[in-house]
Structures are given as structure tokens and as C-alpha cells.
Amino acid sequence: MSTKTPMTDSALEVFKARAAEEGLLDVAYATADSPFGPLLLAQTRRGLVRVGLPGQNSDELLADLAERVSPRVLEAPGALDDVRRELDLYFDGKLDSFDLPLDWQLSGGFRQQVLRAINRIPYGQTRSYTEMARKAGNERAVRAAGTACGSNPIPLVVPCHRVLRTGGALGGYAGGLPMKEALLQLEGVLDESPAS
């Protein structure tokens, strides 16, 4: 805000530090740069809870977090340094496995089972929606597995981009298909000029 003075800024910093100390910072968020555009990162005390992809509406994501997790949502870039560092390494092709605590609370039941199964797909490999449905305990729930994939609250880190249609078609991606393609190229799964 243009009316903010430097003193208000320092007061805001101190306030946020004290809020964190007192355990009042339920959701910390920050933005991070990526080759695809800005990402929104949000975490609780348990771990990373939400990653917003470029093109997703940050205000809506934050309002959703306020409603579903806690309204004590504050911007706190320092709190997300680890996440930002690992993502940077990943985009540079220097990290093939994230070592970050995750908070699964935004996905329940079968969806969470599917996402946990997706989280175990190794770097540079792909699986089909059918396989994910089977891994989550219900082979016939392929459509539900697809929905779980599409509603993944922690994309990139939980690698839903590694799930393809049976036969190898790309399927969908919240960040758009070009981003999914680029991620699979980065991981060496797709050639530079993929057949889609």
C-alpha cells in the first residue's frame, strides 16, 4: 500500500515474528519464481499444504485456505525458504526427490490415497490413472483417481504431472498442458518434440 511508511513495515515484520513465536501463524505463504511463472507456496506447522501454479488465482487460493485450514493466513517468505530452495534445484534438474514435510489435510479419503500413491512415483517415470486407482485400493475408480489428480493441492512436489492416460496421452494439468510437457521433458520422460 502506498500509504505505508517504513516504520509500519518494520512494525509489520516484528508483528509477524511475534505471531510465529506465539504459535499464531497457522498458514504461512510466499511466492516463488519458476520457469513457468510465479508459484504460490503455503505451509502449516505440519508441512507444505498448497502450491498454486502460474495462472491459478492466488487470492482465491488464499481465501480457500482461510476457509478450509485457518483464517490466520500471513505472508511470511522466510518460512518457505526450504521449499523455495528445493523447487529451484528441481527446476535446474539438480533434484530428483523432494525432502519436504507435507500436510495432506486438504485431501480426504480416496483422493488422499491416490495422491499418496502419486507421491511415490519416482522421478523420470510415469504411471496411468488406472494404476493410481489400483494403488489407492480401487482399480475401478479410474475417474475418481483422475479427479484426485486434477485436484492435487500440492502439484510439482506431489508429482501429478507423472500420471498419464493409458496409452500415453498427456491427460490434463492445472498449470496447462505445455507445463506438464515441459516438466516431463525436464525429467527426461519426453523428447523435446513430443507426440501428443
Binding site: T8, S10, A19, L62, V73
Partner: protein, 155 residues
């Protein structure tokens, strides 16, 4: 019930106004402390807040209490306020507010306190007098002098 916005939004929209009013009420030096206390109290209570329609009024009520605590802790002029007014302060133009409260902050201490308590905190004259430890007549005079000076300053 209207959903509560992320607390960051509350900070973005109202922190400048709260700081401005606190500067008027307790001066620049104490304002930063009161600011922390105000927003920490607000953050503690926030998830249970039932009405999100007048967040500014809610924050200013808390800020007012913190300003009174501040004066009390300083040991000068304990403030015998029976009850804190829960009325919301009308929303104005925030930029205009900032300018105004900066001018209030520049007033001599008695005038500044009288103006802040009257218009920042909505206290009646009797309570302003009690807060300042002077007669109602003297409080009225401080307020009058303060306003006269502000009118000249902001004209």
C-alpha cells in the same frame, strides 16, 4: 456468515490506519508497541470473530484498548473507563486519515490526547477529562485548541 478473509488482507487494508491512530493516541514512540499488541490480540481472536463486515471498527476498538493500557502502564493518569465503546468508527478515506493523524501527532501532548480520545476512540468529554486527569472544562479547552490548530494546519 461472511467468510473471514486471510488475515494478511486485514493487515494490508488496515495497518496504516491503525498505526496512524495509535500515533495520535500515544505518540510515535509508543505506537509501535501498541501496534504489535493490537494485531497480536486481533490475530488471537480472529478465527472466532463472527462478523467480518466491520474489521476496521473491530481493530480500532482493540487499538483503543491498547492505547489505554499503554497510558496506564506508563503510570500517568490511570484511565477510569467503565466500558470501552464497541461502536465502529466510520470508514473514511485512508490517505486522508493518515495525513490527519500525522497532524494530530504533531499537536502538543494534551491537545493530541484530547483529540485522539474524542475522535479516535469516541470517548465522551467526561471520560477524556478523567483520562487526562483534568477538569472537564480543561479537557474541552484542550480539544478546542487542538481542533483549531488542526483546521489551520490542514486548511
Amino acid at each position: 456468515m461472511t467468510a473471514l478473509p486471510p488475515f494478511q488482507t486485514v493487515l494490508d487494508e488496515h495497518s496504516a490506519a491503525v498505526m496512524g491512530i495509535l500515533r495520535g493516541a500515544v505518540g510515535h514512540e509508543g505506537a509501535e508497541d501498541c501496534f504489535q499488541e493490537t494485531f497480536l490480540a486481533a490475530l488471537r481472536a480472529y478465527p472466532k470473530l463472527e462478523d467480518s463486515r466491520n474489521l476496521r471498527g473491530w481493530l480500532l476498538t482493540i487499538a483503543h484498548r491498547k492505547a489505554i493500557d499503554h497510558h496506564r502502564a506508563r503510570g500517568r493518569n490511570p484511565v477510569p473507563v467503565a466500558e470501552v465503546a464497541e461502536v465502529a468508527v466510520e470508514d473514511g478515506n485512508p490517505e486522508r486519515d493518515e495525513e490527519l493523524w500525522a497532524a494530530v501527532g504533531a499537536l502538543p501532548p494534551k491537545q493530541r490526547a484530547a483529540v485522539a480520545l474524542r475522535y479516535g476512540s469516541d470517548l465522551p468529554h467526561g471520560e477524556i477529562a478523567a483520562a487526562l486527569g483534568c477538569s472537564p472544562e480543561a479537557a474541552r479547552r484542550s480539544l478546542h485548541e487542538g481542533l483549531k490548530r488542526l483546521r489551520k494546519e490542514l486548511a
